[in-house]
């Protein structure tokens, strides 16, 4: 299975240098004495454990509009987040000033969470040790050595190719961005974890005009890679997808309204899993009893044949993590196995609450945020149906191909996702092109109605971003073709 292949690839990767992380942050005045001072303050009021999350990130990007690469940005982040944990409770403080005084002050603020705690565990670790980790995103060519003068022609060439591809394309905006974020996680047990997370992003948006009609759309690609991510194949994919998706809209209409079968195309339809199921299986919602899946562990929540995985081990994937943002190694977590809910996605706090091992899902946007259970790469494994057979099985319904966004109400389970492009299915055939149609459903009900799963599993390489608790993290999606026997289509009356 494809998912097994991904798992093996991650496991076979090399392990990083233990000293690398400490040396990296020493340049910012970070050393063992700072750790000791921070932990002494953090645990002074009796917190059970604490961790420090040092982060240094550099992002850079250039963009083209009106046939000119005329703007650029750089963003540098530096800071430390200090967390003190007492049971399910956590105190958190961060500072962008890494002086001892500022870090100790922040640690003392975080320590206040444990003001009323009875247990007092003074900090008394003898030494700190950097733990090894896999490397799921080795870089072939670092961005650091790539001059802007090398990047500019790439965007200009792409612009020329886009503008000459079809006379109906009248505008093109192109963005190329990359970031590298170094993190050093120090636990009050003395364990340390260092990682460098790369990300490269390419985006192209187009406007097309034909008579009085005007439409805009685009495409983007992202992955944990260096400059090698920008190759001819990806630039061609970016160009052809953005143009095709924009021109498609000129002929498309909103879908008819009502309740009908929906066939989700392989790939980006993983947004269904993300919204309908994924968030509800994040363990913080479940330990609080506020998820629709709170009492459903080890019960059937989907028909046989439905297996859903959240995976942090796929090499170079946008959602891949060598270690999560609490220092737990990235893993492949089977959430739903043949229709049975097997596991939630855990951070350390929820894992302790449930008495299980953390699953490596403790993620955060930056040092300014506490880690919470988050998805990584969420996908449904391939099933047994030929995708053409799935389409043929629908008398009248919607075929959803590309998407822009989705949202969920965790407790009620209601979710939506927005179809940017697709087709009507009439008498088992793809017919009229459709666009700009929202789909709404209820997670558990939609899972129960997922009655055909295709053989054509596909990952999506788009730059998906997941938002939760005011934090954004990169994620990815995958899906085979799937039929949901009934969903509400937010179209127009015919």
């Amino acid at each position: 299975m494809l998912s097994d292949h991904a798992h093996e690839a991650g496991e076979s990767a090399y392990r990083g240098s233990p000293e690398e992380g400490v040396a990296y942050f020493r340049g910012f005045g970070v050393d063992e004495s700072l750790f000791r001072a921070a932990f002494t303050a953090a645990l002074a009021r009796g917190g059970e454990w604490a961790d420090l999350y040092f982060e240094h990130g550099v992002s850079q990007g250039i963009s083209l509009k009106d046939h000119s690469v005329d703007s650029a940005y750089t963003s540098i982040t530096l800071g430390v987040g200090i967390r003190v944990v007492s049971g399910d409770q956590q105190g958190y403080a961060y500072t962008e000033d890494l002086s001892r005084e500022a870090v100790v002050r922040a640690a003392s603020s975080a320590a206040l969470i444990a003001e009323s705690a009875s247990a007092v565990a003074k900090f008394s670790v003898e030494g700190f040790e950097v733990k090894g980790r896999p490397n799921r995103y080795p870089i072939a060519q670092e961005w650091m050595g790539v001059e802007v003068s090398e990047k500019v022609p790439l965007l200009n060439q792409l612009d020329q190719a886009v503008m000459s591809a079809d006379p109906r394309i009248t505008k093109a905006n192109i963005g190329m961005g990359h970031s590298t974020t170094a993190i050093l996680i120090v636990e009050s047990t003395g364990a340390m974890h260092f990682d460098r997370l790369p990300m490269t992003r390419l985006s192209l948006s187009c406007t097309a005009e034909e008579g009085d009609l005007r439409e805009s759309n685009g495409y983007n690609l992202a992955g944990r890679r260096g400059f090698e991510f920008i190759n001819e194949e990806r630039l061609e994919t970016l160009k052809s997808e953005a143009i095709q998706r924009t021109l498609f809209l000129l002929d498309a209409e909103q879908a008819p309204a009502g309740s009908m079968p929906v066939v989700l195309a392989a790939g980006a339809s993983g947004i269904l899993l993300h919204e309908a199921i994924g968030h509800g299986m994040e363990a913080d919602f479940n330990r609080k009893g506020i998820s629709v899946y709170s009492d459903r562990l080890n019960t059937r929540i989907a028909p046989k044949g439905v297996t859903i995985v959240d995976d942090g081990t796929r090499d170079h994937d946008r959602g891949a993590v060598n270690v999560d943002d609490e220092g737990v190694e990235g893993q492949r977590t089977v959430l739903v196995e043949d229709g049975i809910l097997r596991s939630y996605m855990h951070d350390r706090i929820s894992a302790a609450h449930y008495g299980v091992e953390p699953t490596g899902n403790g993620r955060r946007e930056s040092f300014k945020h506490t880690p919470v259970p988050r998805m990584r790469s969420t996908y449904m494994c391939a099933g047994e149906y030929d995708p053409t057979e799935i389409i043929k099985s629908v008398k009248r319904g919607v075929y959803a191909e590309t998407f822009t966004n989705g949202q969920v109400m965790i407790g009620a389970g209601d979710f939506t996702f927005y179809i940017k492009t697709g087709y009507m299915i009439e008498d088992g055939e793809l017919t009229r092109p459709i666009k700009d149609t929202n789909i709404i459903g209820n997670g558990p009900e939609v899972l129960e109605r997922t009655d055909m799963v295709g053989t054509d599993f596909k990952y999506d390489e788009g730059g998906w971003v997941c938002g939760k608790d005011g934090q954004s993290v990169p994620v990815s999606l995958g899906m085979p073709s799937v039929r949901v026997s009934e969903m509400t289509v937010g179209g127009v009356n015919e």
Partner: protein, 448 residues
């Protein structure tokens, strides 16, 4: 405050000394504390301190923008040097220049009261006591729901933020402000396993202006209870009231295509529509930047220009685009005719309020649908097509009837706002939009 202004001046001078002809610098810092409480105990305590420096550089006709939170002097110098070097590699953009300093002149001497001195008196004990009180009140207010209540959470927080802006062609400004907030969520459980949640919140510049906790709690309980037993709607066309707190979703869809970026990129349904009737003549929307204690209040905008009260829509007629300095110059250059800078910032809204509160609106429409929340969906600013998830209640004989869920609203943003038939009197007290409940006719809703 003066230290931030000094820092911004220093960095602007440094940028010029290193080779930039002009620069815009913004230095900012903030401190915030949030306390979260859940089911009888403290859940999370957040204490945050932020600092950052943003620099826009104009180098040999080229432009770039940069930010950093590494403010060590040696780092800032390297940061600026590298940023200037990077800018030199870009292509020229003749529309990139600092705004005309004439726009900086005439800044009014008004105290917007953005800072609440009582901020300095807030203690950790107070926050803990208030966040616990919120839960207690919510438990009492939801007592009648019995074991349907599975969790109650609350939060209180406050923040102080200050910032300084310097443009090398003469603009200087510094401002500071406080915000205070409190919220509560009530999670319920239904027999079928669904766990609807209802929330209430209050958020203000001054602590004394926060809504009373019983009012916030009542909103949360009503919101949660109103979702129990929700059903799907029958697909069709309805008279719809969109509740005041939900209006912002369709308001932003209406206003987003007015931006300079949307117009320049040919992504605006409103192109060529200024001074024409674009929506119902009932709608008048004014932007008021100088409201005392207003969440959106400001004396200058992102270009450094002095802000003024202005109409956005007057009796359904579109009065202005929202074009900042750069896009005005860019479009002027591209089109060969002058495009005015109108200012891109929006602050606090004033509406053409009617005289009916929500109860009166319900009675007025008799039968229809009340939408009190949106969930996902999107709108297309180029064509105006919209499709949003939403929920609420059926309205029968002027009363709220069965709750609704999994509803989709679809149509066109211009048509929707043109079908506006009544504007309520009930401006929502939170936020800067001050939006009232509004009645729309013939709205397409889908369900079963």
């Amino acid at each position: 405050m003066s230290s931030l202004l000094d820092q911004a001046r220093r960095v602007a001078d440094q940028a010029r000394a290193l080779g930039a002809q002009e620069a815009k610098v913004v230095a900012s810092r903030s401190r915030g504390v949030d306390v979260e409480w859940r089911d009888g105990q403290l859940e999370r305590l957040n204490d945050t301190t932020d600092q950052s420096l943003s620099v826009s550089l104009y180098v040999d006709g080229r432009f770039s923008s940069h930010s950093t939170s590494d403010l060590r002097p040696e780092s800032v110098e390297v940061f600026l040097k590298q940023a200037i070097d990077l800018t030199r590699y870009l292509e020229e953009d003749l529309a990139r220049s600092l705004p005309d300093p004439e726009g900086y002149e005439g800044r009014p001497e008004i105290d917007l009261e953005l800072y609440d001195p009582s901020y300095e008196q807030v203690t950790g004990e107070q926050r803990r006591s208030e966040v616990a009180e919120l839960e207690t009140l919510a438990r009492e207010a939801s007592h009648h729901l019995g074991d349907k209540v599975v969790s109650v959470s609350s939060s209180v927080g406050d923040q102080y933020a200050e910032g300084a802006r310097v443009h090398t062609n003469g603009f200087e400004g510094a401002r500071s402000g406080t915000t205070f907030g409190a919220s509560v969520s009530v999670n319920l459980k239904e027999a079928d396993g669904k766990r609807p949640v209802g929330g209430g919140y209050t958020y203000r510049r001054h602590r004394a202006d926060l809504r009373s906790f019983p009012e916030v709690v009542a909103e949360a309980v009503e919101n949660a209870e109103g979702k129990l037993g929700a059903q799907k709607i029958k697909t069709g066309s309805y008279t719809v009231i969109i509740k005041n707190k939900a209006i912002s979703r369709i308001l932003s869809a209406l206003l987003s295509p007015l931006s300079g970026a949307a117009l320049h990129n040919k992504r605006s349904m409103w192109e060529g529509k200024v001074n024409t009737q674009v929506v119902s003549p009932l709608l008048t929307l004014r932007d008021r930047p100088h409201v005392a204690r207003g969440l959106g209040s400001a004396l200058w905008d992102g270009d450094g220009y002095v802000t003024h009260e202005r109409p956005i829509i007057e009796e359904g007629v579109l009065m202005t685009y929202l074009i900042g300095d750069y896009y005005a110059k860019k479009m002027t250059q591209e089109r060969g005719q002058s495009v005015n800078r109108t200012g891109s910032a929006l602050h606090n809204f004033d509406w053409s309020y009617g005289d009916q509160d929500l109860q009166a609106l319900l009675a007025d429409i008799g039968d229809g649908v009340l939408i009190d929340r949106f969930l996902g969906g999107n709108s297309n600013g180029t064509t105006g097509k919209l499709s949003f998830g939403c929920g609420g209640h059926m309205v029968r004989d002027g009363q709220l009837a069965e709750p609704l869920t999994e509803v989709n609203m679809s149509g066109n943003i211009a048509s929707l706002w043109s079908s506006l038939s009544i504007i309520g009197s009930d401006g929502y007290p939170e936020g800067s939009a001050n939006s009232p409940s509004c009645v729309f006719e013939g709205v397409q809703l889908s369900g079963v």
